[in-house]
Amino acid sequence: MGKRCAIGMDIGGTQLKAGIVRDDGKVLYQCTAPTLAISGREALLGQIGAIANDLKGTADEWDFELAGTGIGTAGFVDLNGTVAEATGNLPGWSGTRLKEEMESRLQVPVRVDNDANAMAAGEMWLGAGKDAEHFIMITLGTGVGGSIVHDRRIYRGREGFAGALGHQRVVIEGEACTCGQRGCWEQYASVTALRRLMVTKGVQASTAEELFEDLRNGDPAAMSVVDEYARNIAVGLANLIHVFNPSSIIVGGERLRLRETPCSSRFGDT
């Protein structure tokens, strides 16, 4: 073991993460760049292709056998690796035949999945879901992603779109969502929603990190924000518990950020 690897990529609404992963799960190299979300489909495809090609070159230099490139992306990904519907966080991404486009550009096998499903697969393999038969994964970021693991397999539904847990409606006629509906859970439980709550409540902190620092220092306004945010998260989790009867719920996302190596500047500027 040790000479076979794959490139893994995680395309979120804000950040693109990529790395070279050995077949025992060890991440040999990882980098991040701001996702070129607002620059449109071609710019984002170019960015993904440039980063993947660079990592492919590195894997070649290290004399690894490259199994291919796996991509987790925000949005509704069908069973053929097409982004059938993008979230509002990646404008113009709907309809992108991502598997086909990347196989053509990279000349290696490519597989594409929803980003939360990819995170759940990672946690199931080596993380908090290692010993769980049935669990729910939620990711708190620009939006709220979700994945349902049943009998240690990701439940995909009829077209591959199962797990859009952030779009369960928790408030009738609530906040407008990027999906066109109102009152979706992600409008209350995402980091975007947390930032909105911070503004509404008039706390001094301007970032989530500062908010949690204020909380540690006993600031009552910060406590009030965190209490309401926790309640918003919990109401959706309680619904999921009633529907899926999981053994555990794994919570990931921006709050739990690891230290990483930034991608070289050209990745962000592609």
Partner: protein, 48 residues
């Protein structure tokens, strides 16, 4: 952050059915690497 979430989950799921009992609310341990590892796994172990 996790303690208030656990507290509210318990409160909201406490009913005649008590579905929330015994459900562990866990922090993801791989952080930002989870998506990269899971995406790579699509190629390294395509069964899942």
């Amino acid at each position: 952050m996790f303690e208030p979430i656990r507290g509210y989950v318990k409160k909201f799921s406490l009913s005649a059915y008590n579905r929330g009992a015994g459900v562990a609310i866990r922090k993801a341990v791989l952080g930002n690497a989870a998506g990269v590892i899971g995406a790579a796994k699509l190629l390294l172990d395509p069964q899942k």
